[in-house]
């Protein structure tokens, strides 16, 4: 092994002829196994660690058993209904759904934010209510994303409500699928 920066030679002075000259020993230690071990442990910790700590998203749901009079009546003009369907499809309409479905529009998760913000800007705050209606094939992610949109847009009043059969039919018609057998 190469360079000889070794221990200071303690026996610096000349010894007698009978005394063996002390061999200089290299104090260099081969660090390679130590590095190996170090990185092995690092890998272990990297794999077992959870870096992103989960967050808590508060959700309050209304009491369904509350009497009807106690329920806050939503003004139709301030309502904005978002329908969620399979494969992240989003549909919406404002106010009440027209019988011919003319105000029923298709959208997606990117564009719906602009629509919600537009509605928020055009509606008095006390009237605004966003109604989220996921259908049977909407996934949990869609619902949470939509609830998240409510936080992002700072909508004070919103509700997750069961979808109506008429709306299911409209979604099916738009998606080109046949209505489910014995539709719910």
């Amino acid at each position: 092994m190469g360079a000889d920066v070794s221990a200071p030679d303690s026996g610096g002075h000349k010894k007698g002829p009978g005394v063996k000259k002390q061999t200089r020993k290299d104090t260099k230690v081969d660090m390679t196994p130590m590095v190996d071990l170090g990185f092995l442990l690092i890998t272990f910790f990297v794999f077992t660690t959870t870096m992103s700590t989960p967050k808590a998203f508060k959700l309050n749901v209304p009491d369904d058993s509350a009497k009807d009079e106690e329920k806050s009546e939503a003004k139709a003009s301030g309502a904005f209904t978002v329908l969620l369907s399979k494969e992240n499809h989003v549909y919406y309409y404002e106010g009440q759904l027209a019988p011919d479905g003319s105000n029923f529009k298709s959208s997606n998760f990117k564009d719906i934010r602009a629509e919600i913000l537009r509605k928020k800007a055009n509606t008095p705050e006390k009237d605004l209510v966003v109604i989220i209606k996921p259908n049977e094939s909407a996934v949990y992610k869609n619902v949470v994303d939509m609830l998240d949109e409510m936080q992002i847009a700072e909508i004070k009043r919103y509700a997750v409500v069961d979808i109506f059969p008429g709306e299911v039919d409209l979604i099916n018609a738009t998606e080109g699928g046949a209505p489910p057998p014995g539709g719910k």
Binding site: K28, K55, D63, L84, K141, D145, Q151
Partner: protein
Amino acid sequence: MPKLKIARKSTWVDMTAFVDVAFLILSFFMLATKFKPPEVVKIENPKSVSSENQPEKDVFKVSFDKEGRVFVSFSSDQDGKEKAQLTAEVLSRQKGLGLTPAEISNFIKFSVGGIGVPVTQLKSFLNLTDDQYKSFKQPGIPVQDTLNNQLNDYLNALLTGTGGRKPENVMLNGDNGTTYPYFKNVLAAFKKNGIFSFKLITSLEGVPAGTPLYKKRKEQQTK
């Protein structure tokens, strides 16, 4: 021709600095690490802008995975254990399961990782050993139809056991891909037992620029 003499160079590399770095990173990970809690179900949480950290004390958690299997779990601290025990005792009494003390202590142990079996299978499930528990594929608590929503039974047992005192943190841990009806049924069971306020477990996502929430948070920061 004079032969060119190539100086022999040592191949020795000083590893000390390397070791220093390695152990620095190592100590960082050791201090920053928090071991993944033992969970029998793999769940991918959706994202949200919520920045509140997930509580760890006195937690009652309902999880559902992609296939719609529903699990209940309690935190491993004293409050959680107490509530798990009460739940098991009441459930045993209400449903006539006749759980032995050993089975109840197993309930407490398994409830940290998650329990997802119908009430009728609970007794045989609680006789599993730790290893069997890990490999056992639990069918999930049935929630599909409103008549046989057994999550209701679990919740009812919990609240009866505590005398109506709700756990401080009721968490809902759902998978991205679960279809809405399962979520609805879990909510229905919560509502039926008078739990109207709970927390969804999500992972952090940045607030999109230009939105009202973004502006509000920015104002708060500058204040």
